[in-house]
Symmetry: C2
Subunit: 951 residues, 2 copies
C-alpha cells in the first residue's frame, strides 16, 4: 500500500513545458492547500530536489505535453492506458519513488488540458475544498496532515455532454455592479473568477455577459478571451450574436463612415455585416470557441418584422451560407472541425421547422455539423425536442436552459428559483431525446444559482449517475452538496436543517416566483393556505437566524450567500405578500386587525431592504451588487411598473361591530337581523377533523364583548366569552365519541344585540369502501397523483413517482420518457378509488406540471376513464394551432407553475374507479380534484388539501 502525506512540506513539481493554464489551476490548488495546511506548497523543479523522504511531491501533467510524464510512462512508473485518447479525463494516483530524489508523489495525469485541470481540482475537492471556496469565501477546515493511499487513486470518466457551461446574462444591475465594484468591470480579472468556478464545477463552456458588456473588448482587449483559452474554457457568444462578436459591439463600430455600415440588416447592409462578422472570426480564431451562427434582430429581437415564413427562412439560409464561408476562410478550411451552434430561441424555432408550404432550416445542408441548440420555455421546461427523424443530425443537439430570465411570462433575475428536481426531470428528458452535445444554463448573475448550476453541470458531466434511470436523486445530491460546502462547519443536524430550509424556500419558489407573487396569489383564508405558507416562511426565517448564530466565521460569508440570504429574502417576500393579502381581505370586511397586517407589510418591505443591505456588506462586501434586481410586484414581464403591495388602511366603524367567520372561509356575519345572522362551518363533515376555528373580530372603534352560547354536549370551545379589541380565534373541539353519526350542531355568538347563529353539519366515518378510498366532503375531492390504488406497468414502460417534485410536492410520470403511446396499445395506467354520496356530474381537474409538448405537432394527450365507461382521450394543449411557446396557455401555466386540464365526468353514488393514462411524453400529473357541478370550490392557489382517505 502506497501512502503519501500532505502537509506544510508538500511541494509541486515544476516543469518548464507545463501548460500555462494548468499551472494557473495548480496555483489555485496550491492556494487551497495553503488554506488547509497554513502554507502554500512551493514549486520545485525536479533538478533542484534533494532526497527528502518526508516530503510529498505533487506532479500534474498532460499526456503529450510533459517530458517528465513521458519519462514516468516509459519507466512504467505509471500507465495511462485508461485515459489515453479520451476527452477531459484524468488519472489521480499516489506512487512511491517516481524519481530518485522523490520518494512519495501524487501524480495527476490528464488526457488533455481540461483533464489535467479537473484532476487538479479533484485534489482540492478530496481535501474538502468547496468549488465555491473563493466565489463564496468558504474556507476549508485547517488540517496538519492528510494521508492519501491507493484507495484514493481514481480514473475519471469522460463527460456525458461535450460542452457544459453557463451564461452570465442580463448582467445589469446586479452582476454589472458587482463586477464594477470588485474589478472595475466585466474584465479578465472578473472572468478569472467565473472561469475558476466553471472549471471547479467541471464545466468547460461559457457565454459571457453581453447586455452592455463586450467580452472580446473589455479584457481589456482580448485579455479575457486569451485567459479563457489558456484555462481551457471554450467560449462562445449568446444565442443571437453570431461569429464571436457581442451584440453591443456593433453599436460601437457602426456609423455612416464605418466599414461595417450603419444598419444591423443583412439585406440593406450585407457587405458591412459580412465585414463585421469576418473581423470577429479573424480576431477570435486563435481561441477554442463554439461559433454561433444565424442572426436575430438587434438586441435580441425578431430578425424581420412583418415578413413571411418563406422570407425569413430564405434570409437565414443565406446568412448561414455566408457565415460558414467566412469560417472556412478565417478559422479552419475544414468546416466540420469547427464547433458551431445555432440556437432556436424565440421565433427561430419556427424557422427551424418551417410550415406547410416552406421547409424549415432543419434539413439545410448549411446546418450539417452544426449543433442545434434547443431551449426551454424560459422557465426550465422543455420546448420541442429532437424528433426521431433528425436524431442522426451531424453536430448533435444542445440545450439553452434558463435559470434566469429577462422576458415573458415574467422576468426572474433576483434570487435563483430553479429547483433541482425540475432540472433533473427536464434535462434528463432532453438528454434522452438526444440533447447531449451542449448544455448551457443561463444563470443570470450566477450568485444564488450555485446549487442549481452545480447540479446542472454535474448532470452534464455524468449522466450515467444522474440520468433518467435514477429518479429522485436530488435530495441526496443536496445533502452531499451541503456537506461539500458546509460539512466542516456545521453539525450534521444543522446540515439537515440547512437542507430543510433549502427544500422549503425552493418549494415556495417552485409554487410561485418572487416577481409574480402577489397579494392575491394565495387566498388569505380559504383552506388555510396562506397560514400554511406563512408558518413555513416564519420557520425558514427562524431556522436561518438560529443557524447564523451557530455559523463559524470561516463559513459565515458562504452561509449568508448560499443559504441565509436567498432563503430569508424569499421567505420575507412571500410573507410580506401574504400579509398584504390578509390586509386587503380583512380591510374589505372592515376588521380593525387589517391595519396590523398593513403594518406587517410595511415592515416586510423595510426588512427586504435590510436583508439585501446585510447580504451586500457580508464578507467585506463580497456580494455587493448581487441583490440589486427588482423583485416585488411585477405587473408585466419586466420590472417596469412593478409595485410593492398596496396597504389598505381601515377606519374602524363608529358603532360596535362584531365580525364572525370561520377562520378558513370568506363569508362572515355581523349577527345583524336585517342582513345575515347565519354562518355554516363545514369542517366536521370530514370524519377525521375534530377541530375547527372561529374568528371573532372587532370592526369598530370600541372593543366588543362576545359570549358563546352552546347547548351541544359534544362541542367544546377554547373560550366562551371575552372582550375583543382586534381579533380572537376560538378553537372548537368536536367530541366525535359522544356525537351521533350524522347531524347538524349549532351554537350562537352574541355581542350586544348582535347574534350569529352558527350551524355545524357533521358526519362520523363509517364507510364500507376499500382501503385507500378517498371520501368526498362538501362536494369535492382532492387526490394526490401518487395516491393511486394500483399501477399497471407494461413490458416497455411504467409510471414512476417523482418526489420531491413540483408545486404539490410529488408527481407521476411514465418512463422511459421518450415514448409516445398514441400508436401503442399497451399503456401503463394508474387507478384511483374515491367515493361520493350522490350520483352526479363532476368537474374533474387534472393538475400537471406546466410542461410543454415536446413534438412540433403540438399535442399532449392523456386518457381518463371512470368506472366501466370507455376511456376519454384528452389533449391538454388548448389550442394546437398556435405555437405553444408564447401562447396564453404557456404564460398562465408558466406563471402558476401548473397545467390544469378540466373534464366533465359522471360519477355514481358510492365507490368510483378513476383510470389515468399518459399518452404523450413529458407530462407529470401532480394531483386530481373533483368538484360537483353547480358547487363552487372556494378560490385558492393550491386547492384543497387532500381529501379524507380510508386507511
Amino acid at each position: 500500500m502506497v501512502t503519501v502525506k500532505l502537509n506544510q512540506e508538500t511541494y509541486f513539481i515544476e516543469e518548464k513545458s507545463q501548460l500555462s493554464g494548468v499551472k494557473r489551476v495548480a496555483n489555485m490548488v496550491r492556494a487551497d492547500l495553503g488554506l488547509i495546511f497554513g502554507r502554500q506548497p512551493i514549486w520545485q523543479s525536479l533538478d533542484a530536489i534533494t532526497t527528502d523522504s518526508e516530503k510529498t511531491a505533487i506532479f500534474a501533467a498532460t499526456i503529450g505535453q510533459s517530458a517528465y510524464l513521458d519519462d514516468l510512462l516509459n519507466r512504467k512508473m505509471i500507465t495511462a492506458s485508461e485515459i489515453e485518447n479520451k476527452r477531459e479525463v484524468y488519472q489521480f494516483q499516489v506512487i512511491q519513488d517516481p524519481w530518485p530524489s522523490v520518494k512519495r508523489a501524487l501524480i495527476i495525469v490528464g488526457s488533455d488540458k481540461r483533464g489535467t485541470i479537473y484532476g487538479l481540482f479533484h485534489l482540492s475537492e478530496l481535501l474538502g475544498v468547496s468549488p465555491f471556496v473563493n466565489w463564496s469565501d468558504l474556507k476549508p477546515k485547517p488540517e496538519t496532515e492528510v494521508t492519501l493511499t491507493d484507495k484514493d487513486n481514481f480514473v475519471s470518466r469522460e463527460p456525458s455532454v461535450k460542452y457544459r457551461g453557463f451564461f452570465i446574462n442580463d448582467e445589469w444591475p446586479a452582476f454589472g455592479n458587482w463586477a464594477k465594484i470588485h474589478f472595475g468591470g466585466a474584465n479578465a480579472a472578473c472572468y478569472a473568477q467565473l472561469f475558476e468556478v466553471l472549471l471547479r464545477l467541471k464545466g468547460n463552456y461559457l457565454w459571457p455577459a453581453m447586455w452592455k458588456d463586450n467580452f472580446s473588448l473589455d479584457g481589456p482587449g482580448l485579455k479575457s478571451a486569451a485567459l479563457a483559452d489558456e484555462l481551457g474554457v471554450v467560449m462562445s457568444t449568446s444565442h443571437h450574436e453570431p461569429c464571436m462578436r457581442s451584440g453591443e459591439e456593433y453599436t460601437l463600430v457602426r456609423g455612416k463612415n464605418s466599414p461595417y455600415g450603419d444598419a444591423w440588416d443583412f439585406q440593406t447592409n450585407r457587405d458591412g455585416i459580412i465585414r463585421f462578422w469576418k473581423d470577429g472570426l479573424k480576431r477570435n480564431a486563435k481561441f477554442e470557441n463554439v461559433i454561433t451562427l444565424g442572426m436575430r434582430g438587434e438586441r435580441d429581437t425578431a430578425i424581420m418584422k412583418n415578413a413571411t415564413m418563406a422570407e425569413n427562412i430564405a434570409l437565414l439560409k443565406d446568412v448561414l451560407k455566408v457565415q460558414n464561408e467566412l469560417i472556412k476562410q478565417e478559422v479552419n478550411s475544414k468546416l466540420s472541425e469547427v464547433a458551431r451552434q445555432i440556437v432556436m430561441f424565440n421565433e427561430v424555432e419556427s424557422f427551424f421547422y418551417g410550415d406547410d408550404t416552406t421547409p424549415g432550416l432543419i434539413a439545410s445542408k448549411e446546418l450539417d455539423g452544426v449543433t442545434i441548440m434547443y431551449s426551454d420555455n424560459n422557465l426550465g421546461y422543455m420546448r420541442t425536442l429532437p424528433s426521431k427523424a433528425i436524431q442522426n443530425h451531424r453536430g448533435g443537439f444542445g440545450m439553452y436552459y434558463h435559470m434566469d430570465m429577462h422576458g415573458g411570462p415574467t422576468s426572474f433575475e433576483w434570487i435563483g428559483s430553479t429547483s433541482v428536481p425540475r432540472i433533473w426531470d427536464q434535462m434528463s428528458t432532453a438528454y434522452d431525446y438526444g440533447v447531449q452535445e451542449i448544455w448551457i444554463a443561463n444563470v443570470g448573475d450566477l450568485a444564488t444559482n450555485e446549487l442549481s448550476l452545480s447540479y446542472f453541470l454535474d448532470m452534464a458531466y455524468d449522466m450515467d449517475h444522474y440520468g433518467s434511470k435514477y429518479p429522485n436523486n436530488t435530495e441526496i445530491y443536496i445533502q452531499n452538496w451541503l456537506k461539500q460546502q458546509f460539512g466542516n462547519h456545521f453539525t450534521s443536524n444543522d446540515l439537515s436543517l440547512i437542507q430543510k430550509v433549502i427544500d422549503d424556500y425552493m418549494l415556495l419558489l417552485e409554487r410561485r416566483k418572487h416577481e409574480v407573487m402577489g397579494s392575491d396569489t394565495y387566498h388569505p383564508v380559504h383552506f388555510g393556505e396562506s397560514d400554511t405558507v406563512l408558518s413555513k416562511c416564519q420557520e425558514i426565517m427562524q431556522i436561518c437566524q438560529d443557524l447564523r448564530k451557530r455559523c463559524p466565521a470561516a463559513a459565515l460569508t458562504g452561509f449568508v450567500g448560499l443559504v441565509y440570504y436567498p432563503a430569508v429574502a424569499t421567505a420575507n417576500l412571500m410573507q410580506t405578500w401574504i400579509y398584504a393579502g390578509k390586509n386587503q381581505f380583512y380591510a374589505q370586511q372592515n376588521r380593525v386587525i387589517a391595519n396590523d397586517y398593513g403594518n406587517k407589510v410595511r415592515l416586510g418591505i423595510q426588512r427586504d431592504h435590510e436583508i439585501i443591505a446585510d447580504y451586500h456588506q457580508i464578507g467585506e462586501h463580497k456580494f455587493d451588487g448581487f441583490g440589486l434586481s427588482e423583485h416585488f410586484g411585477f405587473r408585466q414581464w419586466s420590472a417596469n411598473n412593478n409595485q410593492y403591495p398596496l396597504v389598505y388602511d381601515v377606519t374602524p366603524a363608529n358603532l360596535p361591530r362584531m365580525i364572525v367567520s370561520s377562520v378558513t372561509a370568506s363569508d362572515y356575519s355581523l349577527g345583524e337581523a336585517w342582513t345575515n345572522q347565519n354562518l355554516v362551518i363545514t369542517d366536521f363533515m370530514r370524519p377525521d377533523v375534530t377541530k375547527a376555528y372561529l374568528d371573532i373580530a372587532c370592526g369598530s372603534r370600541d372593543s366588543i364583548a362576545y359570549e358563546i352560547i352552546n347547548q351541544t354536549p359534544w362541542l367544546h370551545f377554547s373560550r366562551y366569552f371575552g372582550e375583543v379589541q382586534k381579533q380572537v380565534t376560538i378553537e372548537i373541539t368536536f367530541d366525535r365519541k359522544n356525537a351521533p353519526l350524522v347531524g347538524e350542531s349549532s351554537f350562537q355568538v352574541k355581542s350586544g344585540e348582535a347574534v350569529v347563529d352558527v350551524k355545524l353539519p357533521f358526519r362520523n366515518g363509517l364507510f364500507d369502501y376499500p382501503s385507500q378510498t378517498f371520501i368526498e366532503t362538501n362536494d369535492y375531492l382532492a387526490i394526490p397523483a401518487t395516491a393511486y390504488v394500483s399501477a399497471i406497468a407494461t413490458d416497455e414502460a411504467k409510471f414512476v413517482v417523482l418526489e420531491p417534485y413540483g408545486k404539490f410536492g410529488s408527481g407521476v410520470k411514465v418512463f422511459p420518457q421518450t415514448i409516445d403511446f398514441m400508436a401503442i396499445k399497451e399503456r401503463p395506467e394508474l387507478n384511483y378509488h374515491f367515493a361520493i354520496e350522490q350520483v352526479g356530474q363532476y368537474e374533474l381537474t387534472l393538475h400537471f406540471a406546466p410542461t410543454l409538448p415536446v413534438s412540433q405537432d403540438n399535442h399532449a394527450y392523456i386518457q381518463v376513464g371512470l368506472n366501466e365507461n370507455s376511456l376519454q382521450l384528452v389533449d391538454t394543449v388548448l389550442d394546437s394551432n398556435q405555437p405553444f411557446y408564447n401562447s396564453p396557455q404557456w404564460a398562465i401555466e408558466g406563471t402558476n407553475d401548473e397545467k390544469q386540464c378540466q373534464i366533465k365526468v359522471n360519477c355514481r353514488a358510492g365507490l368510483n374507479l378513476l383510470r389515468y393514462i399518459q399518452i404523450s411524453p413529458n407530462l407529470i400529473l401532480e394531483r386530481i380534484t373533483l368538484v360537483r357541478l353547480g358547487s363552487q370550490l372556494p378560490q385558492s392557489y393550491l386547492g384543497p388539501t387532500a381529501s379524507y382517505k380510508l386507511l
Copy 2:
C-alpha cells in the same frame, strides 16, 4: 286709512271663552313680539282696559267661539262673510274703535280653530319671524315699532290639501337622542316643539315617532295627544299601525295572560287583536284623528309570509270590516264622518290592486270613505297614482312621501337630501292625479329637512300657486324662504350666496345620496368629473366659512343648523370620497401622490367628526343628537357593515419612474421601450377646445426630472422642464389660428431613458351644418335634453323645460302631466340636430329622471326616431312582469338617480335629426348620449360633458 302701531305697549285682549289652543298659540306669538319689541304684550281683559289711544289691542277669535267677536260682527265693526263656513281660513284686519276703550286694534278671525291659529302666526310672519324661530333659534330683528295699515288686511285661502303634515320617523339615534337630551324623551314637551313648527308652517297633521316610542303613552300618558288636540293638530299613526295604537304598544301589553293575547296575528289571535284595537280607539276617540286602517306584520314587515294574493286580500278585507265596526262602536256611529286612511306602502299596494284572478281591495266597500294613501318609491318618486277609474273614490287620496328612509335601495337618515324641484315635480304630478286629501312627509328627524318640508307644506296649502301650472318656482321659493329665515341678518348678496350653497349641495345630493356615495361613484379622472365635483365641494365649504364669519350672533345657530352644517358636512363627505377615489386610482398607477390623497381622506373622516361635534354644540347644544345617523359607505341598505373609505398606501418604486397621462384619461405611459411609450390626447378633436392638461407624476422614491421636446409651432406648454417629486400638471395650449384644419401633432416627454411619445389628433371647426347642431367628437355625442332645435306642441299638450332639475341640472317633460298619449295621435315632439363623421350604428342612450310608471300596467313608453326612419316605440320599463317597486331597475335607478334607456340607431354621415316623443306620463328626459358601436365611452358617473354645438 286705518293705522295701528305695534310696540312694547301692544296688548292682547283676553276672553274667558277663548279656545285654550288658540290661547297657547297667542302666547307663542306674544313671545315672538317680545323678541321684536323687547317686551311681550300682556293679556288684558276688555273690562279692565281704560281708554288709551296709543296702545294697540290684538284680538284673535274663532267664529262661533267668542262673544266679543259676535259683538263686533253684530255691530258690523267687521264682517266675516269671506271666511264663514270655510276650512282653516282667517281674516286679518286692522280696525279703529272696535270697543269704547280700544281705539286701534288688530283683529284676527278664524273660520275655525286652526284658521285662528294660522291667523295668529300670520302676524308673526308679517313681522319677519321665521317659522323656525324657536326650532332653529333664529331671532327676529329687534324693532321699536311696526305700523300696520289697511294694506296689511288679508283673508287667507282655504288650503288645497285637507291634511298636511309630517312624520317623525326612524327616530333613533338622532331624534331620539335629541329628545332625550332636551326633554327627557319624546314626551309632550318635545311634541310641543313639533306642533309649533307644524302649525307655523300651516300644517295640521302629524304621525308621531314610533320606532321605539309610543305617542299615546309617553306624554306621559295621553298628554301629548291632548296637547295635539288642543292645538288643532290632527294625529294619526303611521302606515302600519291601525286604530291609533303604535306598533310598539303591542309589545308592551302582549303576554300569555294578557287580554290582548301574545301574537300579532289576526288569524290565531283574532280576539286579542280586536281587543287591542278597540281599546286604542276608545282611548283616543276624544281627539281629532285620522284613523289608520289595515294591518301589516310586526315592525313594518309583510303581514303574511308565503300566503297567496287571495289569502292576503281576504284577510285584509276581514280586518277592514272589523276595524270599521270598532270605529262605529267606539268613535262615531256615522262612519262616514270619521277620517280614515289606508296606506299602500310596500306590499300593501299589490293587495290594493289584486291580480288577474283576485280582485284587489280597490273596490271593497270597506274602503268607502277611506282615504287611499299612495306612496313614493322611498326616494321621492311616485309609485302608482290613482287611475281614472277610481278618481271618484269617496275618501279621496293621500300621499306618504319620503324625505328620509330606513330601507332600500338605501337608507338616508342623516342630512336632508330631497331637493325642492323633485318635490314640486312629483307632488304636483300626484296632485294632478287627484292626490288631494292627505299629504304627509316622512322627515326623519326633521332637522336639516326644514326647507324641503316648508316647500312641501306650502305646496299642500296652496296648489293654486305651486301647482303644475307654475313650473320652475323653486328658485324664487328658496330665495323667499331664505329671506324669511335670514333676511334680517345677511346682506342680499350673502343671501344669494346662501342660495347658491343650498342649490349646490342639494345638486350633489340629487346626483348621489350621502350613504351610497363611494370612491367609485365619480370616476377619478374621466371627463374631469371628480375635479368638477371637488371644486364645487371646496367652493361650498369656502363660502360657508366666509358666511359664518359674517353671520350675526342672533342668526348663528339657525345658520349653522339650516345651512352651514348640512352644506359643509355634505361637501366634506363628497370630497372625502372623491379623494378616496383618487387615492385608490393613483395608487394603482403607483403615483406617489396617491399617499397625499390618502391623507386627505383621513383628514376628511376626522373633519366629518368635527363638523358634527360643532353642529351638536352650537346654540348651547340646540341640535345635540341630530347628527348621529351613520352616513359613510353603506354596503347594503342599512348602515350595518358600512365602511369609511379604505385608504391605499403606496410604497414608491426603487428606480426613478415617470408616469405621464392626460389629466382626464386612465391610460398612462412610463415611457419605457419594452412596454408602452405612446399616449394619445384627443381633447383637441373638439374644435372649441384650446387647452389640454398633462400629468407628469413621480412613481418613485427619488424625484424625476422631465423635459418636454416639442417641435410643433402651434403647441405651447406652461412648463418645458422641471423636477417632479409628486406630480405636476402641464397646460398645453393649442393655437388654433396657426394650425392646419385637421391633423395630428406630437411631442415627447423625456426623463432619463424614458420617452413618452404623445400624439394629439386635432380638428378645427368648419362645419356646414345648421345652427344648434351638435358635432360628434371621439365617437360620441352628449346632448342636453333642453338643447332641442324645435319643439312641436299640440292643442292639448306641450313639452316644458324644468330647470333647475335633477341629476343633470335640467330636463323636459310633457304637460299636462296626466295624459297618456298611447291612444292619442297628436303628440308633442322634440327635435335635435347632430352631425357625425361616418355612417354607422350608434348606441343611443336616453337619460331620464328615475321616475316610475304611474299606472299599474307597469309601462313607461317613449318614441324615438332618426331622420326619415319610422318612430320606434320603446318601453323604459325593463321587465313589466314584475312590480317596478323593489325590482332591480328600481334599486339601480334610485341609487344612481338616473334611468337609462338604450336603443341602437343607424346614423348617416353628416347631419342627423333625432325625434323624441314622450308617450307615457311622468317621464323626464335629462340628456341624450350617442356612442359609436365598438367604441367604448370611458366609464363615468355623469357621462361626458355636452358636445360641441354650432352657434
